[in-house]
Amino acid sequence: MTHEQVGPLVDHLFRREAGRLVARLARRFGVRSLQLVEDAVQDALLQACRTWPFRGIPHDPAAWIATAATNRALDLVRADARRARLLGGPDSAPADAHDPTLPVVAPSYQTPTDHHELGDDELALLFACAHPAITGETAVTLMLKTVGGFGVREIARGLLAEPEAIAQRLVRARRTLAEARVPMTIPDAAHAHDRVQAVGEALYLMFTEGHSAAEADAVIRRDLCHEALRLALAVADHPALGTPSLDALVALMAFTAARLETRVDDAGIPVLLADQDRTRWDRALIGLALQRVERSMRATTLTRWHVEAELAGYHALSPSVDEMPWHAVVDAYDRLLLIAPSPVVRVNRAVALGFAAGPADALEALDHADDEGRLARYPWLHAARAHAHERLHDAASARHAWSRALALTTSAPHRRFIEGRLARLAAMP
């Protein structure tokens, strides 16, 4: 081994190359071979992980992994074809696997100059993952596993699910892709709009999952949010696919991600906005968000993401909680309610109204936030009430509301947060 020439690997190189190679090979062998392709890439990474400690890191690690993964995929495809011939069934191997003279692929892989850039293969796979046949959490799971290069256990930690459940979800998703004969293509102009919207929705869900999973560890939560941002940025920047609505999505993610590190303390307990250390907010991400807000303005219709970006911007840009433009925040929530009415948005609007007008107005608004009774198990409705009662110095009502919130909270860090508020109330005269 030559330890002298071993340089540090680029952060997340294995994860990034896994996504890149799964996409490249899935496009070559067809999306129905997705499992085979994922296995080949995993084997190649494993080969790297087990030989590099003895031989040192090659000069072009990405090219090494690419060659190993391609050769492994060809081996697996040939083995499948042989098995199919032996069984006498129809040969289901892809066309280029029949050629016995197929050369072992030489390392011709070009390391992309920009590590964050997404190639056409990855975009095509992203669209396959957000195919109409695959929805919601399943699309998010498949995106993370394939394009994202995340492992099953990491996805399970990020989405607060059991690894077995994630693995099963992936098996079903791959089968759906194969049965629906989903093509690995970037949608043409005629179909782009709906498909881009579907990708955006999945990435929005990926981001909110990462952002709200209080139980998950901070590292995987941050990685999920940043992955959603990376992918959204790639689609938004694509000349044929980008839309003002996607720019708004990028802006809302970037504004929110900028504050990620300060949202919870070292123990994972939520930190109130007023108590967050604003000097630790990510200036580069706020800059990106501002640039995207401007680009999103060319829209002819206002989308939910536009308003959510505006709201995230108020939080990220005001120098302190006291200087928040609370009336503008309430206005934005009113606009959001016109586009996407929901009781949770009404609760958030009521909280903003509490700062804009006063806690009594907040309580009145909260009384009507959930007329349909859909928030029966939503602790933050009671938490919002408790906070308003605190500001009115009504300790008994605040205690009662915090207790109701506590009874509905299963997340350990959130429970500790509420217990902290109750303890504070108990200590007051």
Partner: protein, 115 residues
């Protein structure tokens, strides 16, 4: 100075479940360990052995008998080896204690007899 061989016992199946991120971290840890040893002049070399289990050779009543290594049955085999230089066993053990392999299996240290 004495040379010691570090035989890295491991269960190859234990690696199958690693995520790409974990694999990269493992590579980084091995790299850091090897570099630290090399800088102090302790590092001699290392080899990864193939996973298939090798061949076992013996004479059976005078006839040579060769069998495949027990790859499929065993939970454990020697997956690789490092050779390090150290004045004595205690130092060799201390150097090996930081080896990331300690998280993947166990290490057998043998001094190469040069006497």
């Amino acid at each position: 100075m004495a040379q010691f061989i570090l035989l890295l016992h491991e269960n190859p199946a234990a690696f199958a479940d690693l995520t790409p991120e974990e694999m990269q971290q493992m590579v980084a840890r091995y790299g850091a360990w090897g570099r630290a040893l090399a800088e102090k002049g302790h590092y001699v070399g290392g080899h990864k052995l193939k996973d298939e289990g090798g061949r076992h050779m013996a004479r059976d009543k005078g006839a040579l008998r060769v069998t495949d290594g027990p790859y499929s049955e065993v939970k454990e085999l020697v997956g690789g080896l490092f050779i390090i230089e150290a004045p004595d066993y205690d130092t060799a053990v201390t150097l090996a204690a930081d080896c990331p392999h300690m998280d993947n299996g166990w290490i057998e240290i043998r001094e190469i007899d040069k006497a």
